[in-house]
Symmetry: C2
Subunit: 121 residues, 2 copies
DNA sequence: GTAGAAGCTAACATTGATGTCAAGTTCAAG
DNA sequence: CTTGAACTTGACATCAATGTTAGCTTCTAC
C-alpha cells in the first residue's frame, strides 16, 4: 500500500511514516516513479513502533530491537546481542517504573475527579 | 529547606525545581537575602509533580490540578471545576491507553530478552 | 492528454522540560 | 572579615519526534 493508506490505517501522519523509514524502522519498496510501497505487514509494525515510542525508547534503539522481534508472519530474523540485551533490561526496568508512576498519577486523577463529582452530588 | 537539599532529597535538579516554582507548581518563602525556603511538604509534592509529568500532563494542567489534590497534611483546598474535571477525565483515558501501550512494549522487550537468553542457554 | 489527488524531497519551526554557563549575591564557619 | 559553598537571575542550547510549507513529480481516471 502507499503512504496515504498506511497513514489512514494506523492513525500516524505521513510525516512520521517517512521519518520512520528514514530511521530504518520501516522498509518500503519503491514504484518506478519513486513512490513508497509498504507491505501489508507495515500496519502492525507501525503500531508497535508507536508503542515503543510511547514507552520512551528512541528510534535508534527501536531500530536495533525490531529485527529481534518475532513478527506476525514468522520468527525473529535476529537474536539480540548481549550488549543489546543489557540495554533492553535497563529499558524494561525504566518501563516498570514508568508504569508505577502512571498508576499513581491515575489514582491522583481519580481522587480529584471523584471528590468533585461527590461534591456536586 | 533550601533548594540544594530539596534537589538532593528528590533527585530532581535545581534547575527543574526553579522551573516548577516559576510555573506555579511549587511555592517557596524567601529568606531576607532572597533565597528560596521550601516547606518540608515540598518533598512529597515534587515527587508527585514528577509522576504527573511522567504521565504526560503539562505544567499548566498540573498547576490547576495541584490545589485539588489532598495533601499529606489535610484535605484538598479546592474542588475541581466541571471544566477541569472534563479535562482530567480525558487525561485519565489517555493514561489508561498509555499503560496499555507500556505493558505491550514491556512484553515485546521480554520476548526479545528471553529469546536471547534462551538462545545462549 | 489532462486535471486533480496523492506522493516526493528539503528545509525550517515547534514544543517543553531540562542542561549549562556566566556574573553576581548570600550564607555559614573560621 | 574572609573564604568557599550554596544560591540568584538570565540567557542560550538541546533533544527528538512531529508540524508545516514550498516546489515539483507521479499516479489515476476520465
Amino acid at each position: 500500500m502507499r503512504i496515504g493508506e498506511l497513514a489512514r490505517r494506523t492513525g500516524v501522519s505521513e510525516r512520521s511514516l517517512r521519518y520512520y523509514e528514514q530511521q530504518g524502522l520501516l522498509v518500503a519498496e519503491r514504484t518506478p516513479g519513486g513512490q513508497r510501497e509498504f507491505p501489508e505487514q507495515a500496519v502492525d509494525r507501525v503500531i508497535r513502533i508507536q508503542e515503543l515510542f510511547a514507552a520512551g525508547l528512541h528510534s535508534k534503539k527501536i531500530a536495533q530491537l525490531l529485527p529481534c522481534m518475532r513478527d506476525a508472519d514468522g520468527g525473529p530474523s535476529a537474536i539480540a546481542t548481549p550488549r543489546l540485551v543489557a540495554d533492553l533490561v535497563a529499558e524494561r526496568e525504566r518501563i516498570d517504573r514508568m508504569i508505577t508512576e502512571l498508576v499513581n498519577s491515575r489514582g491522583v486523577l481519580d481522587d480529584v475527579i471523584n471528590a468533585a463529582s461527590q461534591d456536586r452530588g
